[in-house]
């Protein structure tokens, strides 16, 4: 590994693909339970990730798929992350867009795929109700957990259902 580190430090022109390949390798050698991610094809810029809903939250035992897209400036610019699985959540809108500071202005080059996915996982259990994309959800989160839970389950689809839906 001495080789690859050296090259990157020297060149500075390491391509996005190389960085992503390294990240993939890291994820594979040190897998985090409940989180996986894998590139869609050989050019590595589009990934699909899967996170399990955290226990003791309305999302427990649900599985969510996300798409990640990395631009040419990654890691200096954040990836575009979308929920592919329909989700009922204060900070996620109906088309899966996410409102999370580290994916916007708080992004830093030290973040990587693993940390982004971990943040998203914890966002499920601790929504930021101050700046909701889904106002109803933000309201219900505190007021009516039972109704909230029902809406979450109503909106959720398993990966199989998603596939069947032609996604």
């Amino acid at each position: 590994m001495a080789l690859s580190t050296g090259t990157r430090a020297n060149g500075g022109a390491a391509t996005v693909a190389q960085r992503l390949q390294k990240e993939l390798m890291d994820i594979m050698t040190h897998p985090t339970p409940g989180i996986t991610a894998f590139p869609d094809d050989e050019n590595m810029t589009r990934w699909t990730a899967t996170i399990d809903g955290p226990a003791n939250t309305p999302y427990a035992s649900l599985v969510f798929k996300l798409s990640m897209e990395f631009g040419a400036t990654y890691p200096y610019a954040p990836p575009t992350v979308l929920f592919k699985t329909p989700i009922y959540h204060p900070n996620v809108d109906m088309s899966g867009r996410i409102c999370l500071d580290i994916l916007k202005d708080k992004w830093s080059a030290v973040f990587n795929i693993g940390t982004v996915l971990l943040s998203l996982q914890s966002l499920l259990g601790e929504p930021n109700n101050a700046s909701p994309l889904n106002g109803q959800a933000a309201e219900l989160w505190d007021k009516d957990p039972a109704e909230y839970q029902r809406l979450v389950l109503a909106r959720h689809k398993t990966p199989e259902e998603l596939d069947a839906g032609g996604l």
């Binding site: 690859s4 050296g6 994820i27 594979m28 996986t36 991610a37 894998f38 899967t50 990966p159």
Partner: protein
């Protein structure tokens, strides 16, 4: 008839004695007076003329038949009496002659005689014949039997024919001349014709009777055997089909020939020739041809390597055909001459038989190539015939699959046989179409074997002229054939394209069974076929591994063979793919130069200050690394140093390897002896100076070294050691802190360490430590004193038998282990080592991409795994299978896999 009767009869002929007397002689029937005719007049004959004639004829008949009767043959030698003469004349020539015309109510005398002969034959000869044939006929009696039978028949024939000739023919003759008296044609000839016709008819009738009396099948079988036997003897066959032993002294062929011709012509004389005999002869011929081929030509001429086909052809022309002609002549065949067309057909027949027999053994011929050249050339001749190719192909494929392509055959063996096949078939059919089709299953099978590529490449790198070449022929992993093929000069194909070389007088069209797009490869040698077994990529991967290993072990500093091999492969596979290999080769060559530069620099600037501890000062024994090898990478450089024994001081040579291009190498980490470490440091700093700050990473496990050990009573030098062996033995050097212990215990007591201590001191894996310890025990340097504890054998005299035994056992163990240690990590090691990572790759892939097929998984792995995924679908399936057993994934059938749902 008793004698008395005979006597009586000779005086008073008694007609009733024989059936040949149809009516009494005494009362001639004079006929009746017709109505209105005066009674009793002797002149009234016109009405009774017929009756008169009949009566007269009856009398004559009676006389004649009585005379000719075969039952009274005793008296037949008698001359004809006048009476008989008259009767015969009357019956055959005169009025009594039976009419051939419309009304044949009267029996002719000739017919009667024929019948008589038949009846006689049936009554008195046939039982004898039947008896002759009833018994089982022994082969050795066959000749006698036939001869005996023939004699018997001939005798009886004479018996029948003689009276015919004597008593009937003259009258027929007379008759004929009387009829033809006015004929305008040549009277004599017509006469003769008529008489001959009658004679032949009689003979034919008798022969028919003979033939019918014999068991036809058995007769023709026996005859056929006789002919076969005669043929065998004439041509001096051994190894006959009938199991008759060949007499050791050759019989005079002339006698055999005479006996045969005599028998045949006499059989012909008694009417047993003809179609039947010809059929029997045809059988015999057929068998003769077979026997001849199996006894004379199935032997392969291993020494002069000549084909036998020309001999076979000339035998058929000059030996077989004359025999056939002779026999045909004896049997009086219509056309006794063998036509040229027939000769050709027979030669072809012979060739087919030879070819078929050869094809059955083709596999053996291939194995014994090129001593079996003669047989192969025979087959080449055979291949010109119709259908021969298909037969050869089918038969050979069967032989190959039953004798070669099974798990019991080692890969080396298969490769060697394949090479022989290439060579033999090249000779058989230079265009290579046949080779291509028979080799297909072998190639497919070889591809499946894991060790094929390794064996081929290692064999290519072997030096045939090496003194210890005997050693590697016995070892199973290298093919001497390949190695010797490699050492042949490389034949460049001069002609750009044979098909367009108009001046090529030996040009041959492609065989008809070549596919339209068939193109003969230009490069012809065996290596070509071996190198094209795989896809380029796979082959090059394997080549990289083996070449890497080989380069690191290679003692030839010029690397001539390696350079040659690489050039050779470049020609076959194209240069672009072999970049890595070229870099590897350049690395080792470059390293020499760098070593020289660095050493010269070191000599000039810092003489004699590299080694802080001189061996003399170190006590009883000193490991003295001469050529410890370590390797080190910089950004892209590894190095393997070597030491040159210049003085007592250790020296170090490095091999600098560009890690990016080399296969993954062993990089066990452990501490090397301090002296070497300091050398490495010095080397490193110089290298950095020369190469512009590039860093070295030492790969200690790859080094090799030569050391001298000094004991109290001896001094031993060891060469070709691995670095961990050196490090371990160096660890038995008394440490400065414990030096007093060694002194206190007395000189003969060696230093003692246990495995755990060593592991700690050297930072080395337990496996390596133990391996090295076993090696040193094997060399009688260390002794196992208590479990896991080893002591230096300081004095050999103190060595016990137990030491010797232990040493022997340990050295065996060490050898086995050494054989398993390679510098390059094997595929299987790699797979095992990184299995977890690969598995999480698969899981990640299947979780996020859904269910995937093995091919897709493989493709993704190849692209995504950093450092490459040098495995194939088999390994992927293996991984998936393992994961399935731990319930992580599930097979969805059709090679498609998915994540197992909880």
């Amino acid at each position: 008839m008793d004698h008395a009767t005979h006597v009586f009869a000779s005086v008073f002929p008694v007609p009733s004695l024989s059936h040949t007397t149809p009516t009494p002689v005494a009362t001639p029937d004079l006929g009746y007076t017709a109505p209105d005719v005066s009674f009793g007049s002797p002149f009234t004959q016109n009405a009774g003329g017929a009756q008169q004639r009949a009566a007269k004829r009856l009398v004559a008949w009676s006389t004649a038949t009585r005379f000719l009767s075969l039952h009274e043959s005793h008296g037949r030698s008698l001359r004809r009496s006048r009476e008989v003469d008259g009767a015969l004349h009357y019956l055959l020539v005169g009025e009594g002659k039976s009419q051939d015309g419309e009304a044949r109510e009267e029996e002719g005398l000739v017919e009667w005689y024929t019948n008589e002969a038949r009846i006689h034959f049936a009554g008195s000869v046939r039982p004898g014949l039947r008896e002759l044939w009833e018994k089982e006929i022994k082969l050795r009696d066959a000749w006698d039997l036939l001869e005996k039978m023939q004699r018997m028949l001939e005798q009886i024939q004479a018996l029948y024919i003689q009276p015919f000739n004597d008593h009937i023919l003259p009258f027929l003759h007379e008759d004929a001349s009387s009829i033809t008296i006015r004929a305008s044609r040549d009277v004599q000839a017509v006469e003769a014709e008529l008489v001959e016709g009658a004679k032949a008819k009689f003979a034919r009738d008798i022969h028919a009777a003979f033939a019918h009396s014999l068991p036809r099948k058995r007769f023709s079988k026996t005859l056929s055997y006789i002919l076969y036997d005669a043929g065998c003897r004439l041509f001096r066959f051994y190894n006959r089909h009938d199991g008759v032993e060949t007499p050791s002294t050759p019989e005079p062929t002339r006698a055999v020939r005479e006996r045969m011709t005599n028998l045949l012509s006499s059989l012909e004389r008694v009417g047993l020739g003809g179609d039947n005999a010809q059929k029997a002869f045809a059988h015999a011929m057929n068998k003769l041809l077979d026997t001849f081929i199996s006894s004379h030509y199935l032997k392969v001429d291993w020494y002069s390597k000549k084909p036998v086909v020309p001999d076979l052809k000339s035998w058929i022309e000059n030996g077989f055909v004359p025999l056939v002609e002779l026999v045909m002549e004896c049997l009086r065949c219509n056309d006794g001459e063998v036509q040229p067309m027939q000769l050709k057909a027979w030669q072809e027949m012979g060739l087919v038989r030879l070819g078929r027999a050869r094809v059955e053994e083709l596999f053996n011929f291939v194995i014994y190539w090129d001593r079996s050249l003669g047989a192969i050339l025979d087959l080449k001749e055979y291949l010109k015939l119709n259908g021969a190719k298909e037969h050869l192909r089918a038969s050979f494929s069967r032989q190959v699959s039953s004798r070669l392509l099974h798990p019991g055959a080692t890969t080396t063996y298969i490769l060697n046989v394949y090479i022989s096949i290439i060579r033999a078939f090249h000779r058989l059919e230079p265009k290579g179409v046949l080779l291509q089709s028979v080799a297909r299953p072998i190639r497919r099978y070889l591809k499946e074997r894991e060790d094929t590529a390794r064996i081929i490449i290692s064999s290519l790198l072997i030096d045939v002229d090496d003194e210890n070449s005997g050693k590697f022929t016995s070892s199973g992993d290298l093919s001497y054939e390949i190695a010797s093929e490699m050492s042949k000069p490389f034949a460049h194909s001069e002609a750009a394209d044979d098909e367009f070389n108009w001046n090529d007088m030996d040009w041959q069209p492609l065989p008809h069974d070549a596919s339209p797009e068939y193109k003969k490869s230009k490069v012809e040698d065996v290596i070509y076929f071996l190198l094209t077994l795989w896809d380029r990529e796979d082959f090059i991967n394997e080549l990289k591994n083996i070449l890497g290993d080989h380069l690191l072990r290679c003692q030839d500093l010029e690397y001539q063979k390696e350079i040659r091999l690489l050039e050779l492969i470049k020609i076959r596979l194209g240069e672009d793919k072999l970049q890595a290999c070229e870099v590897m080769l350049r690395d080792v060559l470059e390293s020499r130069r760098i070593n020289d530069t660095i050493r010269t620099a070191a000599m000039a600037s810092t003489p004699h200050n590299q080694n802080p501890h001189t061996p003399e000062g170190r006590g009883a024994r000193t490991p003295q690394p001469h050529r410890p090898t370590t390797s080190a990478p910089s950004h892209h450089i590894l190095s393997t140093p070597r030491h040159k024994p210049t003085s007592n001081e250790p020296t170090l040579n490095a091999q600098i390897l560009s890690s990016f291009f080399w296969p993954i190498l062993r990089d066990d980490e452990f501490r090397v002896p301090a002296q070497i470490e300091s050398l490495q440091k010095a080397y490193e700093s110089r290298f950095e100076r020369i190469k512009g700050m590039r860093k070295l990473r030492w790969m200690n496990a790859l080094g090799d070294s030569t050391i001298t050990l000094e004991f109290e009573d001896r001094k031993e030098e060891f060469a070709g050691l691995t670095m961990w062996q050196v490090s371990v033995v160096y660890a038995f050097q008394p440490q400065p802190s414990e030096e007093w212990v060694g002194k206190g215990k007395g000189k003969s007591q060696g230093v003692t360490r246990n495995v755990e201590q060593l592991e700690e001191m050297l930072d080395m894996d337990e496996g390596l430590v133990r391996q090295a310890l076993a090696f040193w025990v094997g060399k009688s340097v260390l002794r196992l004193t208590s479990p896991d504890t080893y002591t230096v054998i300081e004095r050999l005299s103190s060595a016990t038998t137990a030491d010797d035994n232990a040493a022997a056992a340990a050295s065996e163990l060490a050898e086995v282990q050494a054989a398993q240690t390679t510098t390059v990590k094997s595929q299987a090691d790699l797979l095992n080592e990184r299995k977890d990572v690969y598995m999480s790759f698969v899981i990640g892939m299947l979780t996020n991409q859904g269910n995937l097929g093995v091919q897709r998984i493989l493709m993704m792995m190849r692209m995504m795994v950093q450092g490459g995924f040098p495995f194939g679908p088999e390994e992927v399936r293996g991984l998936l299978g393992e994961m399935e057993s731990t319930e992580k994934v599930v097979s969805l059938g059709g090679d498609v896999w998915g994540i197992k749902k909880m």
